[in-house]
Symmetry: D4
Subunit: 205 residues, 8 copies
């Protein structure tokens, strides 16, 4: 196993017996577990075996976390709109679970550019910035143009019609004209939070 990262359980689609077995095994071994994309039913199932498990219905995070973690460095998590918050929370809570300090800057989409500009100082303090956006997905580019730290862009499936379930935002982000930006899968808050943690650790170590 990689040093400094506990095991994660990707809950979505796991049949019940598999889910319970894996979750319990990691819990017994490590004393804490991070689960992602869990449904309310899965929460209740796991709780019947691991009573201290906690569930956040917005992000789908299902975790047991050892208390008293010191949160180091700084990761900024930004969203274009409120509908992107579930994905942003998956990213933010993942990074916090792995020991990072997270600054949440939500609802600063580029259609109202001054909301974003008014947050420049907070963004400038982060070692890594996660930009979460659906529909046109332009948030990452504008942030990457303003900030000096690496930007991880997360397209979301928020939208309708020609958003094609996140494809539009994904293509926008891949074609960014800005320097210092890369992209993860549509709705992959976990992946962004993990990668941001790696980068933040390089900065604070």
């Amino acid at each position: 196993l990689r040093s400094g990262f506990g095991e994660t359980v990707f809950c979505q689609g796991k049949p019940d017996p598999y889910l319970v077995e894996i979750y319990k095994r990691f819990y017994d071994r490590d004393g804490e577990v991070l689960g992602t994309r869990a449904s309310k039913e899965q929460f209740e199932l796991v709780r019947s075996i691991v009573p201290e498990v906690q569930y956040d219905p917005i992000s789908g995070i299902l975790k047991v976390e050892r208390p008293g973690k010191e949160k180091k460095g700084c990761i900024a998590v930004c969203t274009g709109g409120t509908a992107d918050i579930p994905v942003a929370e998956e990213a933010a809570q993942t990074a916090e679970y792995f020991g990072c300090y997270v600054d949440r800057i939500y609802d600063v989409g580029v259609a109202g550019i001054h909301r974003l500009l008014s947050q420049r100082e907070r963004i400038a303090k982060a070692n890594c910035i996660i930009a979460v956006a659906g529909m046109e997905g332009a948030l990452g580019t504008v942030i990457a143009g303003l900030a000096e730290s690496p930007v991880i862009a997360v397209p979301t499936s928020v939208g309708y019609g020609a958003s094609f379930h996140g494809l539009s935002a994904l293509l926008t982000m891949l074609n960014s004209c800005a320097n210092g930006i890369s992209v993860v899968n549509i709705d992959n808050g976990y992946g962004a939070g993990y990668l941001a943690t790696q980068i933040n650790r390089l900065a604070v170590k």
Copy 2:
């Protein structure tokens, strides 16, 4: 024929005899003609029959224009980068040909947002704004968020890889989170210039 708009010749792909015949016929009837997407070879061919024809190799515009037109109202034509200028010029020269005053604001892409913000006053004066951009194509959204006039977004085929010849910019623009924006075909500067002229005339009439 629609009042107030002369006939236009879409030159690209027209076999030589068709092109010459059509261009000459409109010229004889109206005394001026607007041609679009013409190649240098087509320019030379048409010039052998209509010696006063003028050609702009950047935009591909091939025109005979009656002198002394009064330019009314104001249309702003903005681009994200320098590679978008050919499409922007097709739009701008189309609008000028149809009697509009055009303000060119080039190379103000959103990866360097302050270049765009420094042009806010010029943009605010236009009755209609044409936003030309390739790759991620986010220019139109930011402008539509800043300005009160209608924005016509023109995706360009500028880019490589996942730009898919303009598809990325097109989807971005269709999914814009801003109010007051619509889209024309990839690289369709002419269509944007024509539509902007209609809107500008409503404002100045």
Copy 3:
């Protein structure tokens, strides 16, 4: 905020507490609110807080509107079939909310061209025409060829098979051979209504 346009709430997908909080805040501040893409459940939720709210189940419009608005100018809203009416109503009611007079011309698809031709005079009176169509989506082109005002084409997701949820109509509209036409996202009646309002105001100001 942009002058002359109240704030709009895009209801679809908003978690309940967010929706209620935002709707109430705008209502308290402005005395009127326009909500779009609301479900019946969202209507009932909002009504429990803002009892005067009104809901149209066809268009999904959820609004409180100040009475006695003068409706200025003229926008024509046309559809190809009856299944396109929900999107058309989103457009029409948006434009009315923002103070425009709207003329509805429904079920005039191009497969029966005489229904459309018999409405030419009504179409000719509009400062801006919204053409709403699914499946093959050719309505906008024929109207743009007949009328002198700008046409905003709205593709709808009506259809089956190779309509690919509105993609077919979208591509048709982007490739229109007519002059004076632009396109918004699939099913985006609101966007069309907003843009048409901007254009109509330029004409009547």
Copy 4:
């Protein structure tokens, strides 16, 4: 072999020795041959072996045809624009080669609907109508709505940007709201001409 149809050679991409061998063999056997999608180089190659071969550079048809064929029935071949003529000629000359009378009605695209309406009587006389159009491809629908005979729609690769090499016109035609219309491959004039011949023969037999 099917009764009443000679053998056809699809020339495009055939290596030179194959092309010559096949063309000569059919010629020797039948005394006439229809070749399609031939280049000028292929014409010269075949002519060196079969001197009486004739080539039309617009349609790419490379044929030896027995003189004095009676042309029966009536097929109408319509196009949206002049750029669609090469595909239309492939269809028309195929149908003529197989013994049909063909009425050409070119450049009657739906962006100027009155050009099409003024040809209604000619269209009404045909046993089968071939509608050739690129870009938005709406011609077939309007014709199928006007006429009582079957319509074969041929999308062309004419266009740019979001026409995606004929995909837009193809989808339009597949989603036609009109009754009595079917579609062949992009640029497949030959296939339309063959099928129209079968239908025309049913009518005149």
Copy 5:
């Protein structure tokens, strides 16, 4: 209205009041009505107003038909598998409603070519053949190679994975190497039945 074809109601997605109003109006005027893509709920709704209406749950046909129609000519309707039968029945019952004799030849897919070959004589008797197939969609090509009459290919959405809801079968049919074949929209049995009727009438008139 076109001579010899009654009005059809496309039921899918029509709001209840619209459906009832239209269905009743046509019934009162013509004494018979053909409805397509109706659900069981729509059947019950219409029956409460038009008690003599009949419903076929396989094809979704909802009709009132005048008795004693003479069935003329011959249309063959073939399917690749049993799952294609609903679409085939939409085609067959449409053609019968419009006065054609229909020969059903089901489950003769090309993966077991002898089932198809053993039906050659029945196929040869038809004036027009409808080939209905999903997944790989090759049925139409093999039939068109065997038969002399026109073939209308109907791709179905039957399949999974890379069938992409009928796209695979659609592309197969558009790219057919056989002569005398054209294509309608995915699952469009109605369109095939209508067009086949037009062709069959040309043959029997």
Copy 6:
């Protein structure tokens, strides 16, 4: 290195110095080399260093082969048309190079099903059958339905329009209704020849 297979050089796109260096190295080590997708220029370049190299311009195979190989077992290589022969030859010559006996059965496409049926006995003798086809790509399905041995289907980029450079044939083959068929990349004759060799060896060992 895998037992029984020499090293292969994929020539396409290799810069000249890399190509020469790799080709020479394998030649010196093994005394024979198989190169694929080589151009005529690459042939001449390699010949200047390895004079005994042989080039087949149809398949693009550039090889030095040790004489006197015994050809074991039997692989049938079938094509739909003559334009598929280059890909078929890449497959056939690859299998021969690796020591298989190959039976070539070309131009047996399903639009003329009797050509294929007349070859049933040859096909039945093969341990593995390679079915090469473009456009609609249905050859593999019909063969897999007739034969008892595994079928490897190779889609080709032969075609135009909605063949989308081999996508249509690829999807057809992936959706085959027949048992005992799998697919390789578009135009990947080499991959099919290699895999068929593995299967043939299992049968003859």
Copy 7:
């Protein structure tokens, strides 16, 4: 019927009466039947007629199998993750039904390459290897590079976002850089199991 393979019933989407009739007919004739993609409802329906039928809810296999089959040769079935197991079981149970010995090697995805490497010896013993993977789908390539036997890659629809329901894994597998690999449809465990049986029989016969 092909020698050595009983008839299979593809249950998904079959209307109830068809399913029961076909299943019963095969059962009466052969004494055993293999059904695939059956739902729990279909199981209960068939059991009411054929009481000895057995159902596996993971794979959807619904079978009556004659006891005492000897299992010959060896097929390895590998998966990238636990979510791919349903498809893998369809493949494995199909191969066992047709008389093959199957070795299951699950959850050996390439993101943790040592799990796979530790299974090299088991993989090396198989006559044919089935590699089942979703998301990035790289399992087949790594196995084909390690093993000498043919690899059948099965993409699964496991994943989210840009996995596009299995398209990503499918394309990965088609573009494999390894030798000796071919691909079946997304989620097509049955097809892989059947083909692997054919190959295994060649090896053991």
Copy 8:
């Protein structure tokens, strides 16, 4: 301008006068310039004005670089094959230009996994790893599973057929099952090199 990064000129597609003017301006101001995607003709043009410019035809890098830069930290640049080297060199030389030490590990594709495994120690020393691969694109996943540092995956357009000009590799990388990986545009070596520099600086600062 962002601290610590000089200005870059994206040369591809820039008209000659624009290119020369921009390149000269940056050179005069900064004394060094990095140009990317330059052709040989552009090199000669720029050299006529800036004689000390240097050109690498493999990567297309056209630069003037101040001598004596200290190279800090460590970035590993890995490729799957030799055809990916041009993109890898764009990444590597960009990172070196911005002051990073780069370790090149080429031709370690996953079809021969031991080549990659034998390089584990070098990979483990890097602060950031760039994984460049076309076709199936699985390199990044395997590296991310082995290494603890962040991985930037660069899909390349290397391949043919269903690689769809890099789309296959792009999707593979976006769907990676490994932790700590993100993606840039197809062939975007520059973007990867820039981002890796940012990350490397965080580690060494």
